[in-house]
Amino acid sequence: MNILKLLADLAATPTDFHQAASRRATIASLGKVGAKTLAAALPLGLAALPAQARDTRTILDSLQLATRLEQLQNALYSRALTAGPGFFPADASFRSSIVKMQAHQQQHVALLTRVITTSNGDVPTLPNYDFTGSKNNTQAALFPNVFSNFDEFLRLAQLLEDTSVRAYKGAVEFLVQDNYILQTALQLHSTEARHAARIRTMRRLRGAVVKPWPSPTDADITVAGKTAVVYATEHATTQLLPAPINTPIQFQLLPIGSGANLLTQSVPEAFDEPLAAADVEALLGLFTY
């Protein structure tokens, strides 16, 4: 429909030339989100909003927090890939999975960096990492053998991947105003979920009691007051319909079969829960100093 394309092109004529142009440059470099889909309307739409109606601070905060998580995971996997001989199991699919995940985390950092820079925001500087959780030997370690014991490494990787999934999920409601960033966050989010499932599958293949999705049946790998935050509120046994309804779904009344542990196990498994930014910060703090 040429007339529609024409109208859209007219609509895309930037009013704030710099902003529209730089956003489009970002999209072009991503090579992912179709220009037709998102390029034209959004910078114009945002540029046209009155300044007080834009909560760019919240969007930027969300992107910065995501960057810090991706940086942390990138560092964890990068160090694991340079660990001593014998760290990875003989089955080559274990190491190759970590190679793929490290590549993604690095790409995610680069992508988020570009988006933040385009918005004139500050990209978080790399902190010092201590993946043992001892904060540079100032407290008891949580993972003393993280780069010599593969199972210990996988436990930490699971905690960080699941946290990442929960963190992106917690952020989407703040991104609802910007469709381009929202869609990008969703695409990061599901990649992280695939990672989390893989780490969990790797642990199961090595004998751990764990499913690809957080389940009340998983063996607990957290420490109270430290890493327990990762699964706090994750195993919700009900879901609230959003406001203004705000009523819990009566799963027990629905025709969802007769599994023995339907409400205590399948319902919590069927939904991943968001994690508040403050809780994500707390977890980040365990491994940085």
Partner: protein
Amino acid sequence: MVYRNSFAEIFLYHNLFHHMSNNLKKGGDEAEFAKPLYVPIKRRSFFMYAGATAGATALLLSGCDDDDSGGNGMPGMVDVGTGDIGVLNYAYALEQLEAGFYTELRNGNYYKGLSAGAEKSALDDLYYHEVIHRELFKTALATNAIKALEPDFSGIDFAVRTASAGAAKLGVLDAAKAFEDLGVAAYNGAGKYIADAGYLTLAGKIVSVEARHAALIRDLLSNGTFVGTDVVNTANGLEISKEPSVVAQTANTFLKEGSKINVANIK
């Protein structure tokens, strides 16, 4: 085919004016003005700031420029509707498809022949998760819900795990992979059409579980293929997203006549 094309064009023009009047109406909606300032600006309400030309862009966003929209809008299709209701019905349709698939799978000979173990237990879990998702959307939509759709799984052989080379039908894990990957791409592409932050978060709670399903099924098919290059872009690490019109074309191949979905009004 001339006949079909001219029908499609008439439909598109009809839609064009329908969308435009809708946008104008929404833009002037008093309820939009009554909202407190801290409520995030919704997609639709920023059209009123951006002006009428942005409305034209919205038409492009909704895929109305596609002349080959896969028969959307043909008589006998199930219209999922517009706005958040439309997106929720779209999700409901996809969850119906997935739940229906796993229900059929568990009645099939491949599943029945499986001995107890990780794969069987995972297929049970997937069945329960999808039925729970389906019922959640049905409950949320209440009287706005589309009807129960009739699936067409004639392209799937429920007796085999994976199709052998040259087979006409998908094996059950081939189909599971297709459905789970499609579901993730669909949610990734539909999030931007949801205006309500609460429903957006709810969709987020589901899509990551679907992504975990997809990763597991892929690992069951071939260990270590959880992020195939067909689903995660190798250049930027982003999982793919698909527009509703694209997803509907695939989904409709698994739905019977009279149950195929029309998503043209999601915008």
